[in-house]
Symmetry: C2
Subunit: 456 residues, 2 copies
């Protein structure tokens, strides 16, 4: 069955690696809606944003016109340590499924942070260093983003202050420990190191924290300490710009062998991986040069694309950040406690939201037990233990390949394998022990959150 | 400082990957001493060994003459899923150290088992499948070998029964869970599933088990169940043969760029990685074609090469396996409980023992706190969280590079980075919290174990 012309893994040579990030906004007729000041509801200016973010990142955030951004040499040097990531032909999975489909996956997990998050972390750390800053602050939930940022800051000699949701801090000591290897300070949130933290602790003494609270603490520390800025690992336009390196490498590898995908599939939480993976393909689609089927996959327990509304909302539950127009479930929405599979963010990248609203991509949601079934099938034949997040894309790639089996079509399917599951084995254990179920929010629940959206 | 001609990572093309394993014994004038029957002290025959091991593996174990073994296509197909592993130029480490030395490492950790162990696991599973067996049994301590074997058995549809040292089973639930993903049954040892397990439980009801006990249980299950054989992840000649793929790829990658190493460094526990990494280089040295400095690095707390004796000893503490002539600390020897860095085996591969005794390689031992210091230095600049085992080689590579800084010599240093440390974060935490110390066994202690060696 093996197509001898295509190797199992396509690696680019150093000379073939992308030298530019691609800004998909340049090719969008309908640009993503601007961030709004939460007080005035006016578009955020560069000056307003520069108190929170590095200057060059603010410029990238607001720039809807420049098509290509040269990747600075220092970042390209760091990329060389773990990139190019392989584009793998899933021969074994194809054989297991008995499908005529040709399946490829872009594997971003072969670095110590365990995911694609490092692609943007190193860029954000670089610009912070270039601006002469002392350090950066951020929040982390399970710890993937915090780990990536710790590695990036260590490389450039920047201080890194991570606010980690307290319940994760206590339950995931290993993630915390990796961040310590890289010299980051990790503080369980809420903490007594910030005003907002002390306020929340006074009101809810036993709380395990939340992502929204951790964001608020990280932003407070950034704006109140000279020489610090806040950084974020998803959702923002700048993050999608950096993550375009995933799609650019994928496309270069496919082009090298004359392969044109029919379907491109990515998991979607805040959109950092999906936006990066699809970027150059979406560009061709926007310019009318090619037509790809592009599918976003989200958890049934956190269905912002498929069951959310397209509206202005807060990016954080603390409501201190700018308002973004996006598909959202409401900034108070938190997936049910049984949800193990990541992708917990209530909203979605404004860029992807606009593209979805304009009909350039599809979205689907999948229940988590079916995600872990796909993960285990994949692990057994392809030899990689996938992150639960990535396994959402695996699920739909398998489903599409099985449809090809029925129809006899030999479609080419490309999906993003964003990371590894080494730190998610508690979730795998739940799955094996039959303790995982599929809670899906009711319409009434979602309506109650949507009713609280800000009036803009 | 960067030497532009050499990429950060050298990947071989599929067509450049090894098609043969190299059997270093073919080039040894003094062959490794044969395994002896523990009862008769006569060399083990193929027939005796075939009750425990697969037939083809027995043949490989006893074959000191055949220089090259073709790697079966099925194994080469599996290798393609995670091989070639990259040979990485440690530009960032060189710059951090300010050394003129050129440092390369062969990184074997980019697969879900997290180490080089998969190279032999897939070979052993293949021959078991080819022989029509139902399954295999093995022991595992921390779980690295058990994970690799689980993956290999899952690929070929073999049953896999792993006896895991009870204290590890309880303290390392994540390793156990990965094995379950791959469908292995994992039993804490000692268990009530075997005679020897029941005997030990009756004598020591609260015991946490030991590697020796787990081996004995695994062997008992293999020999008493039709269609099962026992497999082992290190020490044996056959394992070194399979692991030669590491060295063959390394040499092919170096040759591609005209690089000749001066120093080759590997960590040494039972010898599977070291023996594989150095194989083709040692072959050239044995044939008088080249002269390399080859250094084995072992923990100061388990110093079989540097402080052991070269004598026949049991391979297991249960004393059910054949006797092997090797550098050994005595089969009762167990490193002190404070030892966190792996490489705990009391003996050493008979092949490597003979080569060391004949003066073809050096050995050195390093205390564990210095190993973790090296690990952290490496992680911060090279972006990979190394396994504690691998970090023994990092320690000595750094030390040799610093010597070059003093002398101004631009030596080329190659070391084996056998795996990742994602499942060793408890040890990293001890290190960060200042709770790690360097217990080194006294001469009197070592003499007391050596006095109990079998009289052969």
């Amino acid at each position: 069955m093996k197509d001898q012309a295509i190797p199992y893994k396509i690696y680019l040579e150093e000379a073939e690696m992308p030298k530019f990030w691609y800004n998909v906004r340049a090719d969008m007729k309908n640009k993503p809606a601007p961030l709004l000041n939460p007080g005035t509801h006016q578009p955020m200016t560069a000056e307003e944003l520069s108190g929170v973010f590095c200057d060059e990142l603010v410029a990238q955030e607001l720039d809807n016109e420049t098509r290509e951004y040269p990747i600075p040499q220092e970042i390209r040097d760091f990329y060389k340590m773990y990139r190019p990531s392989p584009l793998v032909r899933a021969y074994c999975l194809e054989e297991k499924l008995g499908t005529p489909a040709k399946i490829y996956y872009k594997f971003e997990g072969n670095n110590t942070s365990g995911s694609h998050k490092l692609n943007s972390a190193i860029a954000q750390a670089y610009y912070a260093k270039k601006q002469g800053l002392k350090g950066v602050t951020t929040e982390t939930g399970a710890g993937q983003w915090g780990t990536a940022l710790s590695m990036a800051c260590s490389y450039f000699g920047l201080d890194c202050k991570v606010y980690m949701v307290k319940v994760s801090y206590e339950q995931k000591p290993f993630r915390r420990e990796v961040m310590r290897v890289y010299g980051a300070s990790v503080t369980p949130s809420p903490s007594d190191t910030t005003d907002i933290g002390r306020k929340i602790l006074a009101e809810h003494p036993g709380t395990g924290g939340s992502l929204g609270c951790a964001i608020s603490e990280a932003v407070e520390v950034a704006v109140s300490n000279p020489g610090y800025r806040y950084v974020l690992g998803s959702v923002l336009n700048q993050v999608l710009l950096h993550q375009s390196v995933i799609g650019l490498e994928t496309k270069a590898a496919l082009d090298k062998y004359g392969i044109t995908p029919d379907i491109i599939i990515g998991c979607a939480g805040g959109g950092s991986n999906l936006g990066g993976l699809i970027a150059p393909f979406m560009g061709e689609k926007l310019r009318g040069e090619k037509n790809y089927r592009i599918i976003a996959v989200e958890p049934a327990s956190c269905p912002s694309f498929t069951r959310g509304v397209y509206a202005y909302d807060f990016c954080d539950t603390g409501m201190v950040c700018p308002l973004a127009k996006m598909y959202t479930l409401g900034s108070d929405f938190i997936p049910a406690p049984n949800h193990a599979g990541g992708l917990r963010y209530h909203g979605m990248s404004p860029v992807l939201s606009q593209l979805y609203d304009d009909g350039y991509m599809e979205a689907t949601s999948v229940p988590q037990t079916s995600v872990f079934e796909a993960a285990e099938t994949f692990a057994r034949v392809e030899g990689i233990l996938p992150a639960p997040e990535s396994s959402h894309a695996i699920r739909v790639a398998i489903d599409e390949a099985l449809k090809c089996k029925e129809t006899g079509e030999a479609k080419t399917i490309v999906f993003g394998l964003t990371g590894t599951g080494y730190f998610d084995l508690v979730a795998y254990e739940k799955f094996h022990d039959g303790k995982m179920d599929d809670y899906i929010p009711t319409d009434a629940e979602l309506a109650s959150y949507a009713a609280k959206l800000p009036k803009v």
